[in-house]
């Protein structure tokens, strides 16, 4: 859509499905209204917002669309229908997404109708490269398939900790995979990108933490595949997830994007930690998301060697001092100007610095940060239960883990590159999430990220007993996403098409 004011209005209402409910008669509306048609003037001031974003709806009726309007042609064929919420009190139009359909397929509509669906945040339709990217949550997936419905229950904090740490996290990878040899990689659906993944991961982190989104005062999104050169992902995340108090269509939250290749997110862990620790900041919680639709040139082009490893996904971490599941014990970062991997402005794909990628880049920096942090905290390898490293492929993290003296059981749990591919800014965060999924209380985790360009951030985290309490809040765990029976595998051509997207 070329009209930005219209885009702003549509995205405000449509990105996070919301409606209004009359306190007097209970009538509900999709869209925001000041009064109720039933109750008239007396209902002014007595309308409350309803939020459908975390709810599940029901697909009432549907049909197949195989000749979409022009803007939807890239989606091919899809199921479209009417979705009801609250026992039919609200009905909205909706497209079923995450479904690879073939033209003129025979669909049994009655088998789809009546099933529960979950709102998803997606690109709305295709636009020109220079246009604002339209997004919407009038896209749904079936709740009994890959993405289950999860309630967002805001819990009262039980305990305040002396030092801050992670209070919740979420990992989102798409339903689609490409499998080549021993490695499976997550592939975005055609209406997904790094923005939609960031929102999904953030949503899952909120659900896991039980923290009121209005208390989140800062959001950092690290990515190297933002579809915009100028326009933050973080502002979209803040609006869709309603981070900070909402006032006059604005969120009382500071939102910013960061970039440092694959360490754009981990770099901000310390900033988030420091921010919630600083009493004058008035920020109770800070969210950090690493999200990437990892870019790579096609296999036969310069830089195409990356195409063997790139994945798609995001991980979000919420930092605070209440109900902490993993306290931050300390950190160390190092940086040097090493041109091992870069993408020039305006270029669609990154380039790779050949011999710079291994020893002078990844190994040198990860080794330095991990060793230095262990030295500072006076830690031995045996004091650490899990080691997490950036994982651009399988060999690199295994080699550095071994070199540092870690045993297989210490580093294997984080190796998710074999399941999701290299999710760039999300790579070491996904590894950390995989470890948090299985860690016991009082486990020590050493994380060493890596960002080309180059630098590494090392963190030491110690889990608390509350890690077990919160586990029930998350159905979409890393394991769930790797072993889901609804995963759909695509061929190379489809993978490239989906990756380019709308």
């Amino acid at each position: 859509m070329s009209s930005e004011p219209i885009e702003r209005r549509v995205s405000y209402l449509g990105d996070r499905l919301r409606g209004t409910r009359c306190e007097i008669c209970g009538k509900e509306y999709f869209e925001i209204r000041d009064y109720c048609g039933n109750c008239g003037r007396k209902s002014f001031g007595r309308m409350t917002y309803t939020d459908l974003f975390y709810e599940k709806g029901k697909l009432e009726v549907c049909t197949l669309i195989n000749e979409p309007t022009n803007k939807f042609t890239k989606l091919g064929s899809y199921i479209y229908g009417i979705i009801s919420f609250h026992d039919g009190k609200i009905r909205v139009p909706g497209r079923i997404t995450d479904r690879m359909a073939t033209c003129n397929e025979a669909v049994d509509f009655s088998a789809l109708e009546g099933r529960d669906v979950v709102p998803r945040f997606r690109r709305r339709y295709s636009v020109d490269k220079s246009d604002v990217i339209p997004t919407i949550s009038l896209a749904f997936t079936f709740a009994d398939e890959y993405y289950p419905h999860q309630e967002y229950v805001i819990a009262k904090p039980k305990k305040e900790y002396d030092s801050p740490g992670i209070v919740g996290y979420g990992v989102y990878t798409s339903r689609f995979r490409i499998k080549e040899g021993n490695i499976e990689r997550s592939v975005p659906f055609i209406d997904e990108d790094s923005i939609t993944a960031a929102v999904e991961a953030g949503k899952l982190a909120l659900i896991h933490s039980g923290v009121d989104s209005a208390l989140v005062g800062k959001i950092y999104v690290g990515s190297e595949s933002n579809p915009y050169a100028v326009k933050p992902i973080a502002s979209k995340v803040a609006q869709v997830l309603k981070l900070g108090e909402e006032e006059e269509d604005m969120q009382s939250v500071d939102a910013v994007d960061t970039e440092f290749a694959c360490k754009a997110a981990t770099s901000m862990f310390k900033d988030a930690t420091a921010l919630v620790e600083y009493s004058k900041s008035n920020i109770k919680y800070a969210m950090v998301i690493g999200s990437d639709n990892s870019q790579a040139a096609p296999r036969d082009c310069p830089g195409g060697e990356l195409d063997l490893f790139v994945g798609y996904g995001a991980a979000a971490f919420l930092f605070g001092k209440n109900d902490v599941i993993a306290e931050v014990e300390g950190w160390y970062s190092c940086t040097s100007d090493t041109p091992d991997f870069w993408r020039r402005d305006g270029e669609p794909h990154p380039m790779h610095g050949g011999r710079y990628t291994g020893d002078p880049a990844y190994f040198k920096h990860v080794r330095k940060s991990a060793k230095k942090l262990m030295e500072r905290l006076k830690l031995q390898v045996g004091d650490i239960d899990y080691f997490v490293a950036h994982q651009p492929n399988v060999q690199f993290p295994v080699r550095i883990a071994k070199e540092l003296g870690f045993k297989e059981e210490q580093y294997t749990p984080m190796l998710k590159v074999v399941k999701f591919g290299n999710t760039y800014s999300g790579a070491s965060p996904v590894g950390l999430a995989a470890v948090l999924d299985i860690a016991k209380p009082d486990d020590r985790i050493l994380v060493a990220s890596y960002g080309s360009g180059a630098g590494s951030d090392a963190y030491s985290l110690i889990t608390t007993s509350q890690i077990l309490d919160k586990r029930k809040n998350q159905k979409l765990t890393v394991k769930y996403q790797t072993e889901n029976p609804f995963l759909e595998y695509v061929d190379y051509t489809t993978y490239r098409r989906l990756k380019i997207g709308m």
Binding site: V61, T63, N66, T69, I90, R91, P93
Partner: protein, 398 residues
């Protein structure tokens, strides 16, 4: 109605693709035919009401009134609305108020000039939220059918019959259009063709269930009852007229199986006309799809909710030119309906009025039903969007 507006002349162009003609040429053609019928010079017109949906988009004509002024060399008041029904409503109000005595109502559309983009335009106009969610102009009709089937528990053999009945609607309308020189499709189709098009598309409705996109124009000249006899021996009166409005977002409406606007407008138009349903002999329905013709029969009250398909099915087993509903003949879409006559949005309502007027006057030629003599009364239903607005006109003669 104290002052009954009278239609003294009607004119229209053929509907279809008119890529060689400017929109102005089309409306002129319709106007010339109407004016020739009543022997009226354009200088006598006191006001013009023009309807079009998309001329500013399809032909980059903003301020259509200016083009009309240039064409007619008139400086009379001119207003532009979307549907013909809306333009006629304004004209009727003006005549009844005694403001004018002679006005032109014209409708024009030239959709094929933008055939590759018009579905997007249509969808955005009809229902923006559904458009954003991925809807097409056809999908809402299919969803309505799905909702209808579920609501009335139609399954098995009954469902098969319903599907055939809907196909028969299309077949019947095509049959009617073979006698209409102005129709877009003057050819017969078969039930099998309709069914196999659905099967090919893998959807509840297929190509032959939908009205096409069209170019065309229609016009009529309206005056007061008092003045009418000066121009014609056989004026047709607007006995009742009414319109109603519903939510733009189809899924948000209370009833997903019917158009509340049709029901309300029909009820009010009948009461205004002092007529009952049984007085209606010829009916022009807005069959943008076969489903729309079916539900409109119920919305207007001719059939019980959930039952129209049965009457259609029975009538079409051995089709005699009309639907038999409760042992009564009802002539529906004699011009071929939107399906076969064509659907140039702004002019569509004009063609519907044109047909009822011609039938009531006994001037419908080959299409004439009941020799015209027995015909006294008919009605027209025109919808805007996907049932967002509904206009009903009850027309009658002396």
């Amino acid at each position: 109605m104290k002052v009954r507006p009278a239609i003294i002349a009607v004119g229209r162009t053929r509907f279809g693709e008119h890529y060689e003609k400017e929109p102005e040429k089309l409306i002129e053609e319709a106007w010339l035919r109407a004016s020739a019928e009543a022997d009226i010079e354009r200088k006598s017109l006191e006001a013009c009401y023009l309807s079009d949906y998309f001329l500013p988009i399809t032909n980059k004509l903003g301020l259509e009134e200016g083009f009309l002024s240039e064409l007619t060399e008139l400086h009379a008041p001119m207003e532009v609305t979307r549907s013909f029904g809306s333009a006629l409503s304004n004209a009727c109000n003006a005549i009844q108020a005694g403001r004018y005595d002679l006005v032109l109502v014209g409708g024009i559309e030239k959709m094929t000039d933008r055939w590759d983009k018009i579905r997007d335009d249509l969808m955005l106009l009809e229902d923006p939220w559904s458009f954003y969610a991925g809807c097409t102009p056809e999908a809402n009709h299919e969803l309505m059918l799905r909702a209808y089937v579920k609501k009335y528990g139609i399954a098995g053999e009954k469902l098969e019959k319903l599907n055939v009945a809907l196909a028969q609607v299309s077949v019947k309308n095509h049959l009617h259009a073979t006698k209409n020189q102005c129709a877009q499709y003057q050819r017969k189709i078969t039930v099998d063709q309709v069914l196999s098009a659905r099967k090919e598309a893998g959807k509840p409705l297929g190509l032959y269930d939908y009205a096409p996109i069209s170019d065309g124009a229609a016009a009529l000249i309206l005056t007061s009852e008092e003045m009418a006899k000066k121009y014609t021996d056989k004026p047709v009166y607007v006995l009742g007229s009414s319109s109603a409005t519903d939510y733009l977002t189809y899924p948000a409406r209370d009833d997903m199986t019917h158009f509340v606007v049709s029901r309300i407008a029909m009820k009010n138009a009948l009461s205004m006309a002092g007529k009952s349903l049984t007085d209606m002999q010829v009916v022009e329905l807005y069959d943008q799809s076969t489903v729309m013709e079916m539900v409109s029969l119920e919305d207007l009250g001719f059939c019980e909710p959930g039952k129209a398909w049965e009457s259609i099915y029975k009538s079409c087993q051995d089709y005699k030119g009309y639907y038999e509903i409760g042992r009564k003949k009802l002539f529906v879409n004699i011009n071929g309906g939107l399906k076969a006559d064509g659907n140039p949005l702004g002019a569509t309502g004009g063609a519907q009025i044109f047909e009822v007027v011609k039938q009531l006057k006994g001037e419908a030629g080959e299409r004439q039903v009941e020799n015209g003599e027995k015909l006294k009364c008919g009605c027209v239903l025109e919808l805007e969007g996907f049932g967002t607005k509904g206009y009903v006109y009850v027309l009658g003669r002396d």
